[in-house]
């Protein structure tokens, strides 16, 4: 398969993740959509790295995976905190800053 096939696959997965982020009302559901989008970007990075025979893209993928893990841990800690204080996980209910 050529580079283009991998890039199109990544674009499709990214769009599915975008759809999830737009449509989900639950904060955990939104996080899952973000995971899918980040995953699609990793496919792009590895595909470009492979087809250019340059290892930099794979190094960047390792960093991206580590940063995603950090993001998920903070995001879920915030979700648990929200549950404690507000008893809700819906993004619409998080409106503390509204005047």
């Amino acid at each position: 398969m050529g580079l283009q096939a991998y890039l199109i696959l990544a674009a499709v997965v990214f769009s599915i993740g975008l759809f999830g982020v737009i449509t989900r009302r639950n904060t955990v559901g939104i996080l899952l959509g973000i995971e899918l989008m980040l995953n699609a970007v990793n496919i792009n990075l590895v595909a470009f790295s492979r087809f250019n025979a340059d290892v930099s893209g794979m190094v960047l993928t390792v960093f991206a995976i580590c940063i995603t893990v950090a993001e998920v841990s903070i995001g879920l800690a915030l979700v648990i905190l929200l549950f404690r204080t507000r008893r809700t996980a819906l993004a619409d209910h998080i409106d503390w800053l509204k005047g």
């Binding site: 674009a11 449509t23 899918l36 995953n39 990793n42 492979r50 960093f63």
Partner: protein, 164 residues
């Protein structure tokens, strides 16, 4: 059809199918399990791209780590509230239009852009090359990622601390 092409289509179908199940499913727990399947499919794609190390990291960190953490978070929050989390969607039409428009735009742009047709061969051990690059050219980002993970660990345990 060669094994390469067959493998690509198999993993691509698993990946897109389970990704759709993640965003369309009614049950949050099933969504997480389908996310695990999607991440494993991505690891298969990485294997096809001859990035065995990245595939291993993907399985260990994503499928093993992230999915476990999300499952824990769902169980803990459902226990806190004592009811199942609602997992509904809204703006389905707007979301579908936006996502389709994005995919259409990117794929149109991709089909117009000249890309290298053949693949330059990766010579030598890719894992060794990644390790060398991480500890030479990319040593500063590597150290920064270590600091970031420490900060994330401290911050997550601070946020989720028991109430006084």
């Amino acid at each position: 059809m060669s094994l390469d092409v067959a493998g690509f289509w198999a993993f691509a179908i698993v990946l897109t199918g389970s990704a759709l199940a993640v965003v369309l499913g009614k049950n949050l727990f099933h969504s997480v399990l389908f996310l695990a399947l999607a991440l494993t499919g991505t690891a298969g794609i990485f294997l096809l791209l001859e990035a065995e190390f990245i595939a291993g990291v993907q399985i260990l960190l994503y499928t093993g780590g992230v999915v476990t953490v999300v499952v824990f978070a769902i169980v803990v929050t459902e226990r806190l509230v004592g009811e199942k989390l609602s997992h509904t969607s809204r703006n389905l039409f707007g979301g579908a239009v936006a996502a389709t428009a994005f995919a259409f735009g990117v794929i149109t742009w991709l089909s117009r852009t000249p890309l290298p047709a053949g693949s330059a061969a990766m010579h030598g051990d890719v894992t060794r090359a990644i390790g060398t690059a991480v500890l030479t050219r990319y040593v500063l980002p590597f150290e920064l990622v270590g600091v970031l993970l420490l900060v994330a660990l401290l911050a997550a345990s601070y946020f989720a601390r028991p109430e006084e």
